[in-house]
Symmetry: C2
């Protein structure tokens, strides 16, 4: 996937394995003034028992920011949320699973707006204070009347129910994804929480990544947008399961200022603390999404170094991470460096073959473009682990890129072969 925004120029390496900030419970309802809930509407015929609508609500007006799919085909709720984000204050996010409301034309766009209207009516708010997301089957109109009836029941159910909301947005996910952290800013405890759903395939029509982040930090709308874009660039835009990017991918953030900290200003030391905490939340959620990729058996932390530029490092990393052949070899626990060097060779990144180095968990597989002396059995022992690091140095400069990816398994193919 690749959401709009920047691929971060952050110095802080929040992808480090040990979280820097205290994690707390509560997900999106950990920050003060945020409530959530969910309900069963029956959108998805094939899984009638699971709740399929979630609501995230701020008890006071929040500033909001969003990053959206860069796919030219944008689902109706993406268009509706982009429009409503222009309003100064946001109060709620309404989400359904089971139907993506994508490729549904004007009728679909009206349905997305009706989801906002129904939510606003139920909460006594304005339509523009609501953001909306959908995930699930593509090309099918929403059962909007039924949904309006369900949405009307949501306000009475609101509580600290982040986990229920995280479950209601799941499609092919095998577990709900939530996290939260607390940091001190200007002497005040500030909380950031998030939930997400996975990038695997859905229903079986659509791969969509959704994530919702809440915080009680006091921050301006423009600065929240900056922080979110940087954070997404280093987390959700650094993961790939199958290389596809959906019509619905969305990350939304709400900040309601209830923590009472001095308003965060971009470039300040306090902002950096906030950024690192936000980064920790998005990185944790991104990692959960990769680990929950359909049929995935290995998690690979791929570092490309020594590229001419960061952009070329990204090209190389994406070519390796999305190579069907590389992914198949990882599935087999085969540290097949030939397929890796082949992928960087066609990636579009400049390489110096005579200086290329590839290693598995630091063990050299390739030195100066040729097989290293490491015994095959030692490399295999790494590639057979559930999680390992692959480093590829292109030998042409100082550009780097890091990406989290997976193997490609027969289970994935079976899962995604449709009816």
């Amino acid at each position: 996937m690749r959401l709009g925004g920047i691929d971060g120029a952050l110095i802080i390496d929040f992808m480090k394995d040990k979280p820097a900030h205290a994690t707390i419970k509560g997900g999106v309802t950990a920050p003060a003034g945020f409530l959530a809930t969910s309900i069963y509407c029956g959108i998805k015929a094939s899984n009638p028992s699971r709740e399929d609508i979630a609501l995230i609500f701020s008890e006071s007006p929040a500033v909001a920011a969003g990053t959206f799919t860069t796919n030219m085909v944008k689902a109706a709720p993406v268009l509706a949320s982009i429009a409503n984000l222009r309003a100064p204050g946001t109060r709620a996010i309404i989400v359904n699973s089971g139907n993506a409301n994508a490729c549904t034309g004007p009728v679909g766009l009206a349905a997305a707006q009706r989801m906002c209207l129904a939510t606003a009516a139920a909460l006594g708010l304005k339509e523009r204070e609501i953001l909306v997301c959908s995930t699930g089957r593509i090309g099918v109109q929403l059962p909007i009347e039924k949904m309006e009836a369900s949405i009307a029941q949501l306000p009475a159910r609101l509580g600290k129910q982040s986990r229920a909301a995280a479950k209601a947005i799941m499609t092919s996910d095998s577990f709900p994804k939530e996290t939260a952290v607390e940091v001190e800013i200007g002497g005040k405890p500030v909380r950031i929480g998030g939930i997400a759903k996975g990038a695997g395939m859905i229903d079986p029509n659509m791969a969509t990544m959704l994530s919702f982040v809440t915080t009680d930090a006091a921050i301006g709308k423009a600065d929240l947008a900056k922080a979110l874009r940087a954070s997404v660039g280093q987390s959700f835009n650094r993961i790939t399961v199958d290389g596809d990017m959906s019509t619905n991918d969305t990350v939304l953030a709400l900040a309601n200022g209830r923590a009472g900290n001095p308003v965060l200003k971009f470039g300040s030391a306090d902002f950096a603390i906030f950024q690192s905490a936000l980064d920790q939340v998005t990185a944790a959620l991104a990692r959960m999404i990769v680990k929950d990729g359909e049929g995935v058996s290995r998690f690979v932390d791929l570092h490309v170094t020594g590229a001419r530029t960061d952009a070329e490092a990204r090209l190389a990393a994406r070519a390796v991470a999305n190579s069907i052949l590389v992914k198949c070899s990882w599935y087999g626990g085969d540290p097949n460096w030939g397929r890796i060097i082949d992928a960087v060779g066609y990636s579009g990144a400049r390489i110096c073959e005579e200086r290329v180095r590839i290693s598995y968990n630091g063990l050299p597989a390739v030195i100066d473009g040729m097989a290293a002396a490491t015994p095959a059995a030692r490399l295999q022992a790494v590639a057979r682990k559930k999680e390992f690091t692959v480093t590829v140095d292109l030998g042409t400069g100082n550009g780097t890129h890091r990406i989290w990816t997976t193997d490609l398994t027969t289970k994935y193919v079976d899962f995604n072969m449709g009816e």
Copy 2:
């Protein structure tokens, strides 16, 4: 794969299903003055009984042309052949399977040159009159002494043995690939023959496509190069099994003039006849390669139309053809248009969502960006065939691109998961 050269501006649609010219037997030895043979050397430990060196020989000097992988990592034989192609006359092509001689450094380059030298010595020729190819495992040095001994025995075995040569260059291919056609040019019968090996995975280290074309046409070196590049642009550069491009991909053509036709000149009517015959040979071989992709169960003829430019049509076609999700749905016989529109949406091609049309064997699946009225069962009946056509119209212009591709099967993943 994508070889150097142009993506054709040819008007002749040689990809049509019915061959325009008479096909004949004999493969690369169908044209006058060409001989071939093969021998068992024992390069590939895992399959010791199969012949693994092939020789193609012209009884008189031929002009030669080649197109090579655009991968930045180029195998030693690619570098050696590029160098030797600069010589005016070529007499032979020496090829081994079981070892790609890629990522083998200066020792590997010397080994590729020694293959040429040994062949030249055996035939009483100069090293520069020999072209060389390798396919198989990457990163392992060739057993060159053993190979030199085998090469020395080749001249005595030469005959009209195109099929033996086609077998000796096989790796994971399940059948040898050869074809030949005869056309009349200037009152003379002119023959073009070819052999190829597949783009599936190998040994299990490397995907390589090799093809060798011979003709007894009289044609200048520069014009042969033009004809070959155009032909490759419309055949081998239009196929994709897994989206990967190897370090060794090579197409070589030799023309020895024995047909006695008036020398072909680019732009003439005779040249057009020759081009169409050459196109028929390369298209037939390309089609065989796709059909022989590992574990492939469906062959898909993908047409992208209505793009802003041909280049954008190519982007869209490649995104669809290489989408893991699209390929999985084809495997399941699922005419999943949501994944197709998603892939064109992120391909980089400009699209007009409200005008996008997708059809399976002409049955509309999407009209104006939304589901068409065709019953799902009828679309499924198409997607369950072994071979079908998918057409995607982007609704933004007149650019087109056609590509041949396959599904992605659990068998493919099993095959490529390594040891």
